[in-house]
């Protein structure tokens, strides 16, 4: 702590004794950050639901029972309302709660995989630009500007429609398109690190460039990386939902949340809850991930909050 004043050499002052250990400070910061705790808890619950969807679902996500179609959720009044289908059924008589559970899998998987791909591309470009500077920086900047000038949703839709839609295609298209924030943040983080003493020391010792980047630079920009990774995962989930909503993402009968909203679009006059439930699910998941990301940033680097 900077405000510790040294009065007599060797004898710690009262402030020093009362200063909690670094671990305790970190713990206090984590548990004092309401957003972080809420985000992490909600995300954990959604991940558990996605992992154990097979065991906790009341039904089968693909099972159509046309005699039991469009049952409203339990908070509605009506003769058809039943605890067999707590969130009701869709237009094809599929249990909505089950589809919601399995939909969490799709959102999380696509979001995570696309984030990994874009993270690898963006971090490589950003760290290279930040570390080498000069020509490399110029080239990376050029690639970045080019990528930013392509309209993401439009290009993603066009490419998916040309190649044909599948889970893998959606993941790759999103991953190849949304690496820009990784590159921007990693570049400036690396620029701040590369002229510090320990990097110069490693260079003077004759460490190879890959070694310096991997073991000197990367650990020091890892917290920025985690923050961007959470935000980009949320971004990828939103984009997947939008693509599926427009009919060019995940294809029926898969229970993607965006696709569920699209399937219910025509029923907005009569059964609006069919739109409300999956939309709220996307909103809650993305909100949880964003809260977690903002929380990690506040805890690891509070000076960047504003």
């Amino acid at each position: 702590m900077a405000n510790v004043s040294i009065t007599r050499a060797g004898i710690p002052t009262a402030e020093e004794i009362l200063e909690p250990a670094p671990g305790a400070v970190l713990r206090r910061r984590i548990f004092g950050n309401t957003g972080l705790i809420i985000g992490a808890t909600v995300l954990l619950i959604i991940v558990l639901v996605a992992l154990f969807a097979d065991f906790i679902s009341p039904g089968d996500p693909y099972d159509q029972v046309l005699s039991r179609k469009l049952i409203p959720p339990i908070w509605h009044d009506g003769a058809k309302v039943t605890w067999d289908h707590p969130l009701g059924t869709d237009a094809l008589g599929r249990d909505y709660l089950t589809r919601l559970f399995y939909g969490a899998r799709i959102s999380l998987f696509i979001g995570f995989a696309a984030m990994i791909i874009s993270g690898i591309i963006g971090t490589t470009l950003g760290v290279m630009a930040g570390y080498f500077g000069g020509r490399v920086d110029m080239v990376v900047n050029f690639i970045l500007t080019t990528r930013l000038s392509l309209p993401v949703v439009l290009v993603a839709l066009a490419v998916v429609s040309l190649i044909g839609s599948s889970l893998t295609v959606v993941i790759w298209v999103l991953g190849l398109l949304i690496w820009d924030r990784f590159a921007v943040v990693m570049r400036s983080a690396t620029q701040q690190i590369r002229n510090l003493e320990f990097v110069s020391a490693a260079q003077a010792l004759g460490c190879s460039t890959p070694r310096i980047i991997l073991s000197e630079i990367m650990p020091n920009i890892a917290n920025h990386l985690i923050v961007v990774a959470t935000l980009e995962m949320a971004h990828a989930i939103l984009l997947e939902a939008a693509l599926s909503f427009l009919g060019l993402g995940v294809q029926p009968p898969e229970p993607s949340w965006g696709l569920m909203v699209a399937e219910a679009k025509g029923l907005i006059f009569f059964d609006a809850w069919l739109i409300g439930i999956p939309g709220a699910a996307i909103f809650i998941l993305v909100l949880a991930i964003n809260l977690l990301g903002d929380g990690i940033r506040d805890v690891t680097a509070p000076e960047n909050r504003n």
Binding site: G35, F142, T145, T146, L148, S149, L150, P151, V152, V153, L154, V155, L157, A158, V159, S161, L162, I163, G164, A234, L238, A241, A242, F245, L246, L248, G258, V261, K265, I268, F269, A272, I275, G276, G279, A280, I282, F283, V286, L287, N290, L291, D294, N306
Partner: protein
């Protein structure tokens, strides 16, 4: 200034050229575009016919340069589905999307700049918290769901606003809010951060010490300096919006460029798709170029580095 402007223009042209290559090669993603266009029952002759009609039988470089030279002259190819030059259709639809984008960015700025300023005057106050909550919620809300929810409440339950079409100015309220809402968090955060920065600076202290009225300090001295990065962000976001309006236009049945893009993708209308992506990208490049030049003009420090 001139040297900076020329350098910036050169980069913009190079970016546009690269974008044109990407846009052009998009069509070759499926391997053989003629094969991809043809229905599954098509015979070998049908595929050959498609190849000739679209000009896929020529060498690829010839095709690209032909397309590029025509595009520079304002000819973006021919939509075989609509049987019309793509450029005509685009410039037919562009004003609607521009209008929607202008409404959306106006809404976004009217909401986010005052909120950002208020939040910066009293950091950690109730207003700051509310502004932060709006930002966090706004970033998590799927645009299409927000649009549909608004449609449900304002259009169907309370019957306040028309839900589709472009008949009157009322039709633009919900689409503009839905499109603009997504960019408010970014603009608000930037305004807040900029104002916090400026309000802590020496010249603001001097202005206050001189005894200037607080409002005058805030708007004449602080905001004018804090708003600069917001202007360029707004320009960039306007470009993003035109690309993102595809979702909003399909929901509210607004006959603009976004809706045209969605229709063309559904119909596999390749020249149209290429033309729309190219036009939107070039428009975005021009916007960022303008924003950069404006910034360099207003802030001489940028020109030097």
């Amino acid at each position: 200034m001139l040297a900076y402007a020329l350098k910036r223009l050169g980069i913009a042209l190079l970016v546009a050229l690269t974008v044109s290559i990407i846009t052009f090669s998009m069509v070759y993603l499926p391997g053989d575009p003629a094969m991809a266009l043809a229905p599954e029952s098509a015979s070998q002759e049908d595929i050959e016919h498609i190849r000739r009609v679209y000009g896929f039988d020529r060498p690829i470089l010839v095709q690209y340069f032909d397309w590029l030279v025509n595009a520079v002259q304002g000819d973006f190819g021919h939509s075989h589905y609509l049987n019309e030059p793509a450029a005509n259709v685009i410039f037919d639809r562009l004003p609607t999307t521009m209008l929607l984008g202008a409404c959306a960015i106006t809404f976004a700025l009217l909401l986010s700049i005052p909120l950002g300023v208020l939040a910066a005057i009293r950091p950690n106050s109730i207003i700051d918290r509310i502004a932060l909550t709006i930002a966090v919620v706004g970033q998590a809300m799927p645009t299409f769901w927000f649009a549909l929810t608004m449609m449900l409440w304002f259009g169907i339950t309370w019957r306040l606003l028309p839900i589709t079409g472009t008949a009157s100015w009322k039709n633009f309220i919900m689409p503009a809010v839905a499109l603009g809402y997504y960019v408010t968090p970014g603009v608000m955060r930037l305004t807040r951060a900029g104002m916090l920065d400026v309000l802590a600076s020496d010249y603001i202290r001097t202005a206050r010490a001189k005894g200037l009225r607080p409002m005058r300090v805030l708007f004449k001295h602080a905001l004018r300096n804090a708003i600069l990065p917001v202007v360029s962000l707004a320009a960039v976001q306007f470009g993003f919006m035109l690309g993102g309006s595809i979702v909003i236009e399909t929901i509210f049945a607004i006959n603009g460029l976004g809706f045209l893009a969605w229709e063309s993708i559904q119909r596999a209308d390749l020249p149209m798709m290429q033309a729309i992506v190219l036009v939107l990208s070039v428009f975005y490049i021009a916007l960022t170029l303008l924003a950069d030049l404006l910034n360099a003009f207003l802030d001489p420090r940028i020109r030097v580095s």
